[in-house]
């Protein structure tokens, strides 16, 4: 049996340290594969390691815990860590989402871990993690300060000029270490922000992430085609480039 893998996302160092220590104590057989200090790193780290469980702080810089959970969807079990008061937490109870109140106390964590162990046990493997989409949508509107700010204009250095690019005109974004390659119909540019940090400003309904390093404008997609039994690729309307779709995101093109 493979070891259970965990992602922990929490922006305050002491709270992070505390959660990690407590996890090591009450769930020694699980391995923390990724520790993130903000939502953008959490999502990027999730794609890299594909852990079984994600402990997500709700209020974080970049993507909020709710937005990360929304993207994780059915790919992992999510436990929220929050300092929201009882009133807001009622919304979680209604949806049977697991959550821990900050500061996290050992007995509460043990109970949550117990439930996770049950869900991850071989007997329960046929039951995938709950899809929280609908509930998360409701939570985002219920919690204050949870409406994300969208990017409208991108600034890109082109020679000596700074070009302003309307996000809507972008065909796709491709990660290039610390930069992001922005492909337009007739040209391309480099933006000085890593893709993981651009993500939180992009409307997920319009810009689909199809790979850890690629986000494509859904309106620019002409078709998706099978490369072999495992792999898919996306063909674009006004561009010859073919974009790979990772296994994680293949569900986007299944009917």
């Amino acid at each position: 049996m493979t070891m259970t893998t965990i992602l922990v996302a929490e922006d305050e160092p002491l709270m992070r340290e505390r959660l990690l220590e407590m996890l090591a104590q009450c769930w020694p057989e699980a391995e923390v594969v990724q520790v993130a200090e903000n939502g953008n790193d959490a999502w990027d780290g999730f794609l890299e390691h594909e852990p079984d469980v994600a402990f997500l702080d709700i209020r974080m810089p970049g993507l909020s815990g709710l937005e990360v959970a929304e993207r994780i969807g059915k790919l992992a079990h999510v436990v929220f860590v929050t300092a929201y008061d009882q009133y807001a937490v009622d919304a979680f109870d209604a949806g049977a989402v697991d959550y821990l109140l900050k500061p996290v106390q050992p007995d509460r964590l043990e109970r949550a871990v117990g439930r996770l162990r049950e869900k991850l046990s071989p007997a329960a493997v046929s039951a995938p993690p709950a899809d929280l989409g609908h509930l998360l949508h409701h939570l985002k509107s219920a919690l204050p300060g949870m409406r994300p700010e969208r990017i409208k204009w991108l600034k890109a250095n082109v020679g000596r000029q700074i070009r302003l690019i309307d996000v809507e005109d972008v065909l796709f974004f491709q990660s290039d270490t610390k930069y992001t390659r922005v492909k337009l119909r007739d040209s391309e540019a480099l933006v000085r922000t890593p893709l993981k940090d651009l993500l939180s400003g992009l409307d997920p309904d319009r810009f689909w992430q199809i790979h850890r390093g690629i986000v494509v404008n859904a309106g620019a997609i002409a078709a998706a085609e099978r490369v072999d039994a495992e792999r898919l690729q996306v063909l674009l309307r006004d561009c010859d480039e073919k974009l790979p779709v990772s296994r994680t995101f293949a569900y986007l093109f299944r009917d």
Partner: protein
């Protein structure tokens, strides 16, 4: 018969009192003389209605009759006096005359006492009505005396100039006191109204202050601040780190001074800077490298007074809407200096800035209104984008208040 008159009067009085309390009831009074008076009452101002209602309640029932009897007695005595001043006037005439004049006068004064606004608005019409009534009385009187005595019209007409003078004196005798009373009463009412308005304004400000204090209190004990801080204390304490005691001390310091300052209208800049520092110390332990801060207060400005908790509100905004949402964290800098004869206090952060922080205006309206309340329009709060990122908040206080 007396009982019927008494009942009629009591019924009418009750109706008037009801209209005085609720002017909209006037529309339900059945048409006729009662409706006429009810409508008049309904047109009076709320203050006048209240005064008149108090008066009516005071002189209700027996007291009213006692007063009327006393007045009748007084006027009758005047009539008796009048009897002795001239010859062959008899008894009934002078007494009747004195009572009629007396009661008219009293009625006019009572009217002026309560309905002064209308009288002042329509003083011309009132004087004309008065004059017309007196002339009418004169003509009627002359007519009857001519008809009764049967003497030649010329012998009576000789007296007309005298009588005209009498009319003028009569008009003045009633109009002047009525106008004087109306004028004085109106001035009194204006003073009362101004006072009431002032009181309402003061009540509103007091309420606003209480609300803002409550908001601040809630902000301090909001779950994010208190629970996250206690969580940090717990984590540090678990390892016996000396920083646990230090963080606890800072938290205590912060909570104690914010509760103390909340009760003060104004505090000195030194006090407020110390409060902000204890807050930033707590946040620094929690946020680690993500938060850096500086405070710079020149000794000369330490005693400058300003409304309490203002700088704390700005510092909290800087953390909550600037640094916390920023991926890289940032700096918060607090400074004060003299500029163009004003004290300028600056709270700047290098966080995510204005446009990307929904709800950043929370508390800022409150800061603005408290500044203007304390120092007038010369004080204010200005916000601008930081360079290259973040937000700069400048509070300006006129220097006259620094003395």
């Amino acid at each position: 018969m007396w009982r019927r008159v008494g009942n009629w009067y009591r019924e009418w009085e009750d109706e008037q009192l009801a209209v005085l309390a609720q002017p909209e009831l006037a529309a339900q009074v059945k048409p006729g003389y009662r409706r006429f008076f009810a409508d008049r009452i309904a047109r009076m101002g709320p203050l006048q209605r209240q005064q008149m209602r108090e008066f009516s309640l005071k002189y209700r029932g027996t007291r009213f009759y006692v007063i009327v009897l006393k007045l009748m007695l007084a006027f009758s005595l005047c009539g008796v006096a009048l009897h002795f001043t001239g010859a062959n006037r008899g008894w009934i005439g002078p007494i009747l005359f004195a009572n009629t004049i007396g009661f008219s006068f009293v009625l006019a004064m009572v009217g002026a006492w309560f309905d002064y606004q209308r009288i002042l608005q329509k003083k011309g019409r009132m004087v004309l009505t008065l004059a017309a009534l007196l002339v009418l009385g004169l003509v009627l009187g002359l007519g009857t005396s001519l008809w009764k005595s049967g003497s030649a019209p010329s012998s009576v007409l000789v007296r007309v100039p005298n009588m005209m003078a009498g009319v003028a004196v009569g008009v003045l005798a009633i109009a002047v006191p009525v106008l004087i009373i109306s004028f004085l009463r109106n001035r009194q009412a204006e003073a009362i109204n101004a006072h009431l308005q002032q009181q309402a304004e003061q009540d509103r400000l007091a309420r606003e202050l209480a609300e803002s204090q409550l908001r601040l209190l809630r902000a301090q004990i909001e779950p994010h601040f208190l629970f996250n801080t206690l969580g940090a204390v717990q984590q540090l304490a678990q390892h016996g780190a000396p920083r646990a005691a230090e963080l606890t001390a800072n938290l205590i310091d912060f909570l104690r001074s914010s509760m103390r300052d909340m009760r003060c209208e104004q505090v000195s800049l030194a006090t407020e800077f110390a409060l902000v520092e204890s807050y930033l110390k707590v946040m620094q332990v929690r946020m680690g490298e993500r938060l850096r801060y500086t405070l710079a207060l020149p000794p000369a400005l330490e005693a400058v007074k300003l409304p309490s908790m203002l700088l704390l509100t700005l510092a909290e905004n800087a953390i909550k809407h600037g640094i916390e949402p920023s991926l890289r964290g940032g700096e918060v800098n607090l400074s004060a200096r003299l500029e163009d004869g004003s004290v300028r206090i600056r709270v700047e952060d290098s966080g995510v800035g204005m446009s990307t922080t929904p709800g950043a205006g929370t508390g800022l309206d409150n800061v603005r209104s408290r500044l203007v309340l304390a120092f007038g329009a010369a004080a204010g709060l200005a916000l601008q984008d930081g360079e290259p990122t973040g937000l700069v908040a400048d509070i300006t206080i006129p220097q006259a208040t620094t003395a």
